[in-house]
């Protein structure tokens, strides 16, 4: 469904070229859930922004259902069926949770009460639907609303950037069930995460290191390796 071919993104830094993404290639099949993990600064968020069209590629190609979307605008990719939950959700003065959910849902063919999406992420809809998306919401609340908004798109492909960040342990299991439910309904997901429980729902895992894909494979193969890398990193004091 999604195919990346030698995707690179480079910037100029102090007169030198620096790759933020270097020759990233992989494919995601329909119904698959892929977890991307790796060190801070390895390029994971940049990769998601490139898929969504927020950052242009320097070279390489991106195909969505065999359509070349490399040059497409963000809105067109959204309409085509890609949804994206930001790592740091955006605040809006004056806009309400309901405004965001209704906007998100506009092109969703499986029309559902917007409140249901809030319940999915463990928020009591009645308390939140009319809240303003401003500083009055905590980071964790905003993050859950961001995830609900993404589900409300009913998109073919969901991108989640560190969905666990800011979510308390208490709600964590709810989040996992929401992802599992989406998987059961045939959803395709790419999730950036460092969390073992979230990695547990992966079909495949992509490990990024220094702008490149360093490992990719079935979760059962990669997960033990990731764990041992992290243990080493901990011993070295990197984490």
């Amino acid at each position: 469904m999604l195919r990346l071919e030698n995707v690179s993104y480079k910037i100029e830094e102090n007169g030198k070229e620096r790759y933020i993404l270097k020759n990233v290639s992989f494919e995601v099949a329909k119904g698959e859930t892929i977890i991307i993990t790796g060190h801070n600064g390895s390029g994971k968020s940049t990769l998601m922004k490139v898929i969504m069209g927020i950052i242009p590629v320097s070279s390489g190609k991106i195909y969505f259902n065999d359509v070349d979307i490399t040059e497409m605008t963000i809105s067109d990719r959204a309409k085509l069926g890609i949804a994206y939950a930001f790592q740091t959700p955006v605040r809006f003065k004056g806009l309400k949770v309901n405004d965001l959910l209704t906007t998100a849902q506009k092109t969703n063919s499986k029309l559902m009460e917007v409140c249901n999406y809030l319940s999915k992420v463990g928020l009591c809809a009645r308390d939140y639907i009319n809240r303003e998306l401003d500083d009055s919401l905590s980071g964790g609340e905003l993050k859950r609303i961001e995830i609900a908004t993404t589900f409300a798109r009913g998109a073919e492909l969901n991108l989640f950037d560190e969905p666990e960040a800011g979510i308390d342990l208490w709600s964590f299991d709810g989040l996992i069930s929401a992802f599992n439910e989406n998987k059961d309904e045939g959803g395709t997901n790419i999730i950036i995460s460092h969390q073992e429980k979230i990695m547990g729902i992966a079909d495949r895992i992509v490990v990024m290191d220094n702008a490149e894909v360093s490992m990719i494979g079935n979760a059962t193969e990669i997960l033990p390796q990731v764990k041992s890398i992290r243990v080493c990193a901990k011993l070295k004091g990197d984490e």
Binding site: V90, K93, A104
Partner: protein, 304 residues
Amino acid sequence: MGTIEKDLLLAVSDLHQIPSGAFSIRENGKGVQVNSTENIQIIPKGEGNGIDIYIKENTKNESVHIPVIISKSGIEELVYNDFYIGKNSDVLIVAGCGIHNTGDSKSSHDGIHRFHLEEGAKVRYVEKHIGVGSGAEKVMNPVTEIEMGERSELTMETTQLGGVSYSERETFATLEKQAKLVIKEKILTSENQVAKSKFRVELVGKDSSADVVSRSVARDESYQSFFSSVVGRAECFGHVECDAIIMDKAKISATPEILAEDVDSKLVHEAVVGKIAGEQLIKLMTLGLCEKEAEELIIKGFLS
């Protein structure tokens, strides 16, 4: 009343028909209909240039509507409305002015509103200004003078969401002990419109408080200026916030001033002018909106 007039009336006062409570409707420079109730008396001034409104003590849950509409080109008027709001009353006052101008002469409405709130009186004052029609200038210069007695409360919500060519708004308030003033102003200007807004609030009584919040959007080549001065003369709390979105080639000037004349006065001001945040646009585009639609939704929310 024709359709244009009815539409204006609806836009400025949300009235689909003649209201049930006290009201006074002014059309094209003349008072056309007045209705008093047992508790609220509206008396037209002798010179025909305004009204006196008397609200009896303890009047609760009643409303006064005083819309002004101008649908003829070339009308220029200066109107005085004086409100005397009795002790412990709790009322809603809806004012507003709609100008429809398709002609080639300027139309203007200068309204001087004076509020006298007695002890414990509580008022919600809603004022909407709109201009429509592609003719000559549509000008509104509202002046609001507020005297707030002990423990009185006034919430003033003013909106001017487009179409007014030029406006100069002045609001003065004096607050006695424990009086509480809340002002929420919303302004949208476009094309080459000019909107100026000036506040002066004097917190005279102990434990009085004022909260002035202005949100505005200036687009195209419009100009807005915001000036506010809050003076604290006792143990009091004052907060002024001017939050503006600037777009295109617009200009915005904000001058919040606070003047503390008592060691126990606490006064805060904030002013922010900036364009729409890029990440807000991006978020809405990821929900399928194009840039223009995203912009409109952000502005609509900001001014809601």
